[in-house]
Amino acid sequence: MEIQLLLAGILFLTGLAGFLVRRNIIFMLMSIEIMLNSAGLAFIIAGSHWMQTDGQVMFIFILTVSAAEVSVGLALILQMYHHYRTLDADAINKLRDSKDNENI
């Protein structure tokens, strides 16, 4: 059990590192997928350890959330590419104050 939880933790940290490091927004979405998947892995492992079905039920809910998030996120990425012609997450700073914009 401990080594399986270790695997889930390492996968989650991989996804977190990818989310923090990459600026390409498609890679950020993929890192979110890795993190959600590792959380589901932890649920399955715990459910199989205590021989309950709740872990698998929770994984189905995680799957639902992940599917909804990916569809909306990819639609947002399409809109962003349509407007800005880039996938750089730092390029979307129109909400920032214009005074700060001059300093950058």
């Binding site: 399986q4 909804a68 990425i77 129109k94």
Partner: protein, 187 residues
Amino acid sequence: MNTIFIIAGTVAIISSLMSITNRNAIHALLFLILSLLSISIIFYISGAPFIAALEVIVYAGAIMVLFIFVVMMLNIGQQEEFEHKWLKPGMWIVPGILATVLLVIFIYVLKEYHFEEKVTVVIGPKAVATSLFSSYLIAVELAAILLLAGIIGAYHLGRQRKKVIHRFLVRAPGKKQPSGSHEIKAN
């Protein structure tokens, strides 16, 4: 079981790392699919065959196809230069050492706390469905509402619209227009 787990887990970790450090989006997606497939093997050997099938069908089948579809639609090949300085190997030495220290501590803590060993029991789809539709029924309906919201949101965001900019905003001094493909009718 343990050998299979170690092999599949190693493949999962390595392919996840390759996926987040790859420059090419399609290659990264293929590595991500590999990681999902190896995690599905882990689900299978820890007694959840239904979830293993769902992982392959929904994650590796549907969600990754959505990703690949968007990547191919946007025609992203080699990435632009904006994140080259983030991916230099020299930057990773100190955070890598610190993370390795934390990982060693994590392994030590998990080794110290002994879980009692149990035989793997296969929990089939029937038990999962019984639990899902009896005690988690309200959560199933909430998930349905969430999926409906996702469908509506994706449809609303994915629509191509003519953007209407007010004529006072068209030629604001010193402001650059957002570079889209919209034709602004000059009044």
